[in-house]
Subunit: 616 residues, 2 copies
């Protein structure tokens, strides 16, 4: 019998013992993280499907897995023999997982899941969409005993980020958070677990603030760790009251000195899991939490007498607005990162066709250059090095066995980034390895024109990404092209490379929460692209720091400072398709790149860099 | 005693008789119209303030009037001696009328007003913001007997718009409306006058649809009239059920033939005011209405057993999407309008400095040219002809006494439009009358560049005005300039020159309702500008018809066809500040203007037009 069919069978025994008709397994941790650690990979354990995104349901007679277009082929292969039906999300007539649940439970029944893996907002939606005859059991974690060699919860060492990097002490951050708790503007207020009513124009004071997003906790306590791949965060929860601050984590991750530092800041450290018991003992009081982010098991653990103020907490925005120290550090981080990327470009352009290279060996070489930079910790995400047609797959990921060999022709797209003490970076360059068709140059030039226009935007305070997106996308739209994603995302400071609430996108996608007003100090990527299936992919990405410009009778003007410092390959540029203004923006950028990186280049690299950043 | 102080005194007697503590007088008719007829000018009658926008409140001891920056000086003069306090809306520390009411009624009391002048949404807001101890009397119309020579309700002749103009029969429109009534997606559902709950994902069937916006009624019944200045509408209400359609109006406005036509379409005609009694007799059923538009007296007249489905009705969007006949006619209307405007430009440029001209005499001459066009009915709004510094006032309006004399120097801004059987037009040109400073040319060129960029937009279906606005505004923002208004508004078809739900604007303003997805067939103005107080004003306005372009794997592309056909004064253009692409768009436009208008020009005009539309 297939291993996974067997595991599903064991799960069904558990379901029968607990009278569950449907068991639901999302891909998630207890904190709504973008990437999840090994402990949390129950869906993979049960189904055999190893992709990064997927949702599994199991009934007593059937099972189904939902995943998106990136994984259709892989999922089909991996699910073979498991008896699990593949649902190709996004294809016509394929239900969403929520619709499927509604269908499975149309005549009532009991649905079980681990409530720590799903948000309170999700639970509220479920309650609304499922018939009243359905019982929802959110207290049904997947039993450890059914997964004999289950990895332990990550407990890697944590460390304190010094104030010269963080720019603001935890004590100051806590005091600002407490100030904000006095004036909460909730989207909804819940009592007794039911939506009581919507308040639109009233402020509330929160006595307790529950924080469960790992990057928010890391920011608040100036704490970093290594519990989620690429995200230097610590598995933890936090609770802030008007006088106290509780940090819930595995105490073994703190060395004595770090523990002492935290305690000196007045932080009370409790074991990771004890937050569930602690919140259950709260007196009746108003509790601020973000129902879209806090898991429903934790919310359900609150006494019924507590009033839930559902709102985005103050940390999300405070974290996105980089302070002056962070901004200064980010400039330094991007120079280091730019040095690595530029030396990589030099190496690539010089050696292509002369030595054997593959997508992965190139990526490895780039990593080795980053590792030489002081203060580099790890890549900020898995490097995408994609050759020609592979680059048309936006989320392409090669392994050593399947990696394409690079030849002196076509494009190599490299999207990579680093975690440094001085901040997080994210850069994409598309390199010309040799001959390319004229059309590819046209595409490349249009992508570049869009990237430059957005970088050069000057706009009144109050603008959001939706107002500016067309600057990047316009040149492609004029040609009947497009990229099927946002133009850019917020970036954390030695934190998650994808961060809310800022971004560039033309359609508001509420669940993305990336359309806030652009504030001074926010960092957003600018990465338009062209993706032609079976042919080629182009993306050029710089990071932009939002700054205040002049203020006059019309309002406060804003503009962007480009943080990313690395040449844009001129070998694919058609200068005649650019306006004089666009060439000027590019030339000014290249002049700055040259002057900034010069001190870090050897003689040969300097000579090459002068040419690579030449005026056009 | 001041006449208005006396009138306020008489109102106070009425208030005492009815135990009213506060009486509230907005500037409105029973239909939420943009312009109001003489009958409705109670606020002017009571206060003496004649501006187009203002809100009056009266208590037993004080009275106040709120108006905006356009009218501060005028209101101050007109209110002198009335004892009415002027509230300068928008200035620091000045409350809104709603805040003032809250303040006046903080300790309870009775508020009275004519509920036919305020929307149901406004009433719901009032109820939420005022203390529970406040009694709201919406059944307190201003008594006719206190206004001895009050003008009668307008009852000007109505006429039917032939299908060759309307493009669709009332029977067909009714059947589409009824189809839409089967699938209503309400924003809110009210029962017993109280908000019961929000439904987000459920559809409802409406048995009755109440329509009170005059342009919506005119559109549905292919009926036009003259009851609101510049808006060719008929004072009326309408009620549609799944089998019947009721039209409420003063029967004297219909001649026998028009009445017959309407009856042949199955429309039941009732007297204007009887809708209040008719709705009070409805059986318990779901009633579709737009709470933001339907007056609260009418909603309160519904039996408590009726369920109110608060949603934007289907007519708003259907009316905004011009059908093929309307689109074809609009092209013709804009040629006629363009002929008038172009002949005006020729006359102006030729005669400036040679004959005496003022702002109003120029506007009169332009009107005389429009009147020569077949099918012209009336101006679609009051012409703005503003010379130099006057044009910096966006809503400048001259009268013969105050009108500036035009000299052969500076700018004349003319914003005007016409109502034709073939549609409604709106065009602004800024003319060079002689020498102008170099800076004015820079401003003019920037405005022009923005106007051209927006006209030339190509975008994926799904875009809204907020996505495209920066194309028009960007060149000005780059210079640290801005205009403090939207870039453009929807335009009706032989209806209101300002029409929801389409528009161009960078910030969503919910009450404007002008940020819908741009659909094929929508007509929107494109009118960026520069306004420098005390110096000059520039606006260049074309109307854009939204069209479908190519459809490919990225989606449906959309673009604009420019409807407006009149030269843009090249005498203020700095070609060296434009890109080659911008010059190409302008040259192509001028080529089309020349070719289109040629047949209507005499020899001298043709010679001039060739030069006025020359390539740059």
């Amino acid at each position: 019998m297939n291993l996974y069919a067997e595991r599903i069978g064991t799960l069904r025994d558990f379901m029968r013992q607990n009278n569950l008709d449907v068991y639901y397994v999302p891909t998630a941790d207890f904190h709504g993280s973008e990437y999840i650690d090994e402990y949390f990979k129950v869906r993979t354990f049960l189904s055999g499907f190893t992709g990064s995104a997927g949702t599994l349901y199991v009934t007593l007679t059937e099972a189904g897995l939902f995943t998106d277009g990136r994984y259709f082929i892989q999922a089909e292969q991996e699910l073979t023999g498991s008896g699990i039906t593949l649902y190709r999300s996004g294809m016509e007539n394929v239900p969403t997982p929520e619709e499927k649940l509604k269908d499975l439970l149309a005549d009532g029944g009991t649905l079980g899941f681990d409530g720590r893996l799903l948000s309170y907002a999700f639970l509220m939606q479920l309650k609304e969409s499922l018939p009243d005859t359905v019982t929802i059991r959110h207290d049904m974690p997947f039993p450890d005993e059914l997964w004999s060699d289950r990895p332990a919860l990550s407990a890697r060492p944590a460390f304190r980020l010094a104030e010269c990097y963080a720019g603001k002490s935890t004590v100051d951050k806590l005091s600002e958070v407490r100030e904000a708790m006095k004036k909460v503007h909730p989207d909804a207020i819940y009592k007794n677990g039911a939506s009581e009513r919507f308040h639109k124009n009233t402020d509330h004071t929160a006595d307790v603030y529950l924080i469960t997003s790992l990057d928010e906790i890391a920011w608040l306590f100036n704490l970093r760790g290594n519990d989620v791949v690429h995200n230097p965060v610590v598995l933890s929860y936090a609770m802030v009251t008007d006088t106290k601050a509780f940090l819930y984590l595995n105490p073994s991750v703190l060395d004595a000195d770090t523990k002492k530092q935290l305690e000196n800041d007045g932080i009370i450290i409790h074991p990771y899991n004890s937050i569930y018991e602690d919140v259950s003992k709260l007196r009746a009081c108003p509790v601020l939490l973000d129902a879209k982010r806090v898991n429903c098991a934790l919310v359900q653990a609150l006494p019924k007498e507590c009033t839930i103020l559902d709102a985005t907490g103050p940390i999300l925005l405070a974290k996105a607005i980089k302070n002056e120290t962070e901004q200064k550090n980010l400039v330094a981080a991007h120079i280091k990162d730019g040095v690595a990327v530029t030396k990589f470009m030099y190496w690539l352009k010089k050696n292509i066709g002369r030595q054997h290279m593959t997508e992965t060996s190139a990526a490895d070489y780039l990593l080795s250059l980053r590792e030489k930079q002081e203060g580099f910790l790890e890549p900020s995400f898995e490097t995408i090095a994609a050759y020609n047609a592979n680059a048309a797959m936006m989320h392409y990921s090669a392994d050593e066995e399947t990696a394409a060999v690079l030849h002196p022709q076509g494009f190599l797209l490299v999207d990579s980034g680093g975690q440094y003490y001085e901040g997080t970076t994210d850069i994409t360059r598309t390199y010309v390895l040799g001959d390319i068709p004229y059309e590819w140059k046209q595409h490349y030039t249009a992508v570049l024109r869009g990237m430059l226009a957005l970088s050069d935007a000057k706009f009144l305070y109050g603008c959001r990404g939706i107002n500016l997106d067309i600057l990047a996308r316009g040149p492609l739209w004029q040609m009947g092209l497009d990229y099927r994603c946002g133009t850019g995302h917020g970036v954390g400071y030695l934190l998650n490379v994808h961060e809310a609430p800022n971004g560039f996108r033309w359609r508001i996608v509420p669940e993305r929460n990336d359309s806030c007003i652009l504030e001074e100090g926010m960092v957003t990527t600018n990465e338009p692209g062209v993706y032609v299936e079976g042919s080629h992919g182009i993306r050029i990405e710089n990071e932009l720091l939002c700054k205040k410009g002049e203020k006059n009778e019309y309002g406060q003007y804003m503009y962007f400072e480009t943080l990313t410092m690395a040449p844009i390959d001129l070998d694919a540029v058609l200068p005649e398709e650019m306006t004089a203004k666009e060439r000027e923006i590019l030339n000014n950028y290249h002049k700055k790149v040259y002057e900034t990186l010069l001190p870090y280049m050897n003689e040969e690299e300097t000579k090459w860099l002068r040419e690579a950043t030449r005026e056009i």
